[in-house]
């Protein structure tokens, strides 16, 4: 039994009832082992069933529970009440995205960006089932593995000041994932991705603030992926100027 309470100030926006967002204060039992998401679930189950938010796995895998906690983008299933208590916790929807309701953001823009950069495998050579698997060495896997651990939580977009001001920027996770496939020895989609990746709303908009890498819960290091993509575009450009230059299909 908890003998003290933790206090949360939760962003509320219910466009069907009120056109302006407000903050609502809730007191929940303080437990050492509770994460912020547990507190939200307590509110939903015991105090106020109208609160809307996304979550699923409760273990930092699904990427759906991202919110601003005291101004910083966090997976609410991975930060504890004890990290903040007795400070009041201000819980808001992820910054930079349109809000649908309460803590639920509209992810359409992000999803479109993933499509634009073709964040999927475009095989270099088609193989039939009889021909077997696409083989890859551990060294080839190591080149992109870090970028492949992205869970699409969009915390990096909420942290990125460039995306915050210019939503046309392709942004950290989409670039990191494009880079993930570009660096995959089985992939041949570099040219197809290049148009989005290297146009004026692509990698060049990044001013290397690096906050995306700070907030990423999976240590993807999208900032590094962006700089790496800039270098490969530059190498390609100079290669294309010399007659003996051969464009590489991977970075």
């Amino acid at each position: 039994m908890a003998d003290e309470n933790a206090i949360l100030e939760v962003f509320r926006y219910q466009p069907d009832q009120k056109s302006e967002p407000t903050f609502q204060r809730y007191e929940v039992p303080f437990h050492e082992e509770w994460v912020v998401l547990d507190a939200l679930n307590y509110i939903k189950d015991h105090l106020d069933g109208t609160l809307s938010y996304r979550w699923s796995c409760r273990m930092g895998i699904c990427g759906s529970c991202g919110m601003m906690v005291n101004g910083d983008p966090k997976l609410t299933c991975s930060v504890f009440l004890r990290d903040y208590h007795p400070q009041v916790m201000r819980v808001e929807p992820l910054r930079g995205f349109p809000v649908i309701r309460d803590l639920v953001i509209d992810l359409d823009d992000f999803m479109n960006k993933m499509t634009e950069v073709k964040a999927w495998m475009i095989p270099k050579e088609e193989r039939s089932i009889e021909q077997g698997e696409y083989l890859q060495s551990p060294a080839q896997l190591a080149r992109y593995r870090q970028y492949s651990t992205c869970i699409n939580c969009t915390l990096c977009y909420a942290a990125c000041p460039v995306y915050g001001r210019h939503t046309e920027f392709v942004g950290p996770a989409a670039i990191a994932l494009a880079q993930r496939y570009n660096m995959d020895s089985r992939d041949g989609g570099y040219e197809e991705r290049a148009e989005t990746l290297f146009d004026e709303h692509g990698v060049w908009m990044c001013t290397f603030v690096g906050d995306c890498s700070r907030v990423c819960p999976k240590n993807v290091d999208p900032a590094a992926a962006i700089q790496q993509a800039k270098v490969s575009a530059t190498k390609d450009f100079y290669r294309s100027l010399v007659p003996w230059g051969k464009r590489r299909t991977e970075t």
Partner: protein, 112 residues
């Protein structure tokens, strides 16, 4: 290739960054400390800059960091949320770097 021209400017920016980070400190030590501390004389330096390779070095040392600075400054428009000012600011910043580069070229060629 419908890709951004930025790749060219970015390459100058990154090369300028390398020059600023590695060659500037060395040059500052030579011109700022070594002469002051009497390790080399001003005459030695003067003799040194007569060498065409040293002049080429000075040209690179002046020009590339100008493009580094131009790129960084023109990207301030993005940081400040003034995307519509991106083009005019790029013209001013890169323009200044180009003028600086031309002046540096004249300087190292004529020995001014």
């Amino acid at each position: 290739m419908p890709r951004s021209k930025e790749v060219f400017w970015w390459s100058l920016f990154s090369a300028g960054g390398v020059v600023s980070a590695f060659f500037f400190p060395a040059t500052i030590i030579i011109t700022g400390l070594a002469v002051t501390l009497g390790w080399v004389t001003a005459e030695d330096l003067h003799a040194l800059v007569q060498n065409p390779l040293v002049r080429l070095y000075l040209f690179v040392l002046i020009s590339l960091p100008l493009f580094h600075a131009a790129h960084r400054l023109s990207h301030l428009t993005i940081d400040l949320g003034l995307a519509h000012a991106r083009r005019p600011s790029a013209i001013v910043c890169y323009g200044a770097a180009i003028v600086g580069t031309l002046l540096a070229a004249v300087g190292v060629i004529t020995g001014l």
